[in-house]
């Protein structure tokens, strides 16, 4: 798993949670909340989808790591089982 591939997976999840949002121009280093209409329930949905689709558990104390696409990739990439090989 590369960071770019990880970002793609996060964007896939967001596009399902917020289908009305235009995700083509997301700036990775800017907070998602500042670019998109996402509320705390949407972030909870991201956590649930990561568990469902990729068996990744994000403890409540780490929710802050999901703030931007860049911080998501930084935090999540090592959690994918095959990331050592990538």
């Amino acid at each position: 798993m590369t960071k770019d591939a990880c970002k793609k997976l996060v964007i896939d999840i967001i596009s399902d949670i917020a289908p009305d949002e235009d995700l083509s121009g997301i700036k990775p280093e800017i907070r998602l909340r500042d670019q998109l209409q996402l509320d705390s329930m949407d972030f909870l949905d991201i956590v649930m989808e990561l568990r469902k689709r990729h068996c990744i558990e994000v403890p409540e104390a780490d929710y802050g790591h999901l703030a931007s696409l860049e911080s998501c990739a930084e935090y999540l990439t090592p959690k994918f089982p095959d990331s050592a090989k990538a």
Partner: protein, 485 residues
Amino acid sequence: MAYDWLKGIADRYDAVVIGSGLGGLTGANVLAKCGHKVLLLEHHYQLGGLATWFTRKGGHIFDISLHGFPVGMVKSIRKYWNQDIADSIVQLKGIRFINPQFQVDTTFDRADFSRHLIETFRVAPDTVERFFTDLRAMNFYDNSTETTGEMFDRYFPGRDDVKRFLMEPIAYANGSTLEDPAITYGIVFSNFMSKGVFTFRGGSDVLIRKMAEELKKNGVEVRKHVIVEKVLTDEVDGTKRVTGVVANGRTILCDSVLSNSNIKNTVLRLAGEENFSPDFVALTKAVRINSSSCQVYLGIRKGETLPHIGDLVFTSDAKIFSSAELVDLHTSSRTFSMYYPDTRPDSTRYTVVCSLNATYSDWNNLSDGQYQQEKERLIEESITVLERFIPDVRVKIDWKEAATPRTIEYYTKHWAGTSFGTKFEGLKISMNLPAQLSGLYHAGSVGIIMSGWLGTINYGVIVSNQMDKFLHQKKRATAAPLAVQ
């Protein structure tokens, strides 16, 4: 022999959901979509908890709590149910206040409320702007001890009229008072102010039917007429955990329970004190139950019509707003929810549901004779007030009936017949439940903010996420030894 309402169910489930209020229904749906095996049990013959309806002779359909919810429901329904249900959500634009202090017609959103506060109530525009912005920024984990009343005094000192304009509708929405924490007001008020008040076109019956269809599609086993008597537990290495439930006298095994019952029912009756630490039991007992409601249901004879007098009409004869007056047995404060034919587009019928806040003990202490008399009085007073707006309404009514906190207790089993859950401290008990008894979760109207249609649906999702995590870990732990081999 009595019919077996549990006929054909499995011996074991990942999760049993107790109660089918919006929190229980949504929790069940989310858990099923996460791949868990779910059984939903409802003791009543109809799903929905307080989000329900009933029919009466003459073709009347009465909605219990479809008064109006914030726009956030569109998103939550789309995400946790489906697009089809979300597409039936429409705005109610006729919100009216009629009391000795002011008469206001509003669309109940930030822009229109700001306009009224500035033009009708003559509040300085920057104060209004600051009020809305500050409230929007409130979080439930904020550590503030300010009450709603104190907060109003900070922005609008000496303005009883402004206080009433801001507080009255929210008091009807969630039973909160001027003495409750300001954040409980700020969060709920901001949700409404976002875009206004919305309703479900088609009525509660269509909504709940569509939810039941979705549950079925996602594999949830739903059973009505089934009362859960007990949550079963055992103890492993000093840790208590859920092992099942007893329902209609039968044992059903499960790894987790989502209780959509009241939090006090959940801890003190369903699980029982023996499963919790003495401190936790003491804290649970100390949780204050929120107020309750009375309702008067007025059915308009087939063929008759009513003029449009607004969708939600807040009326009161009280000179100023007071949280105590609002729940008094003889309160003159009542809200009329007007259901015109466009509520159910395939119908031509009108109904009126008049809601009053109430105190359980006032009603529970009445003798049977007094109880009937008080119900008659409630109906009579409500029709008399309605006649101010629709002078000939009395002759058009062919069904009238009242519900009280005793009715709510009968149908929902809620502790002390509450219609609004608990005061703020109940939320902490609800959230700490699984740490006390592994596998036991609660998602019902609690803590004022997790109340109302949007609050309970979202809380159902928040708690389902925790349950999903728990069940996921449990399944992985069970599967792990095999994976190693």
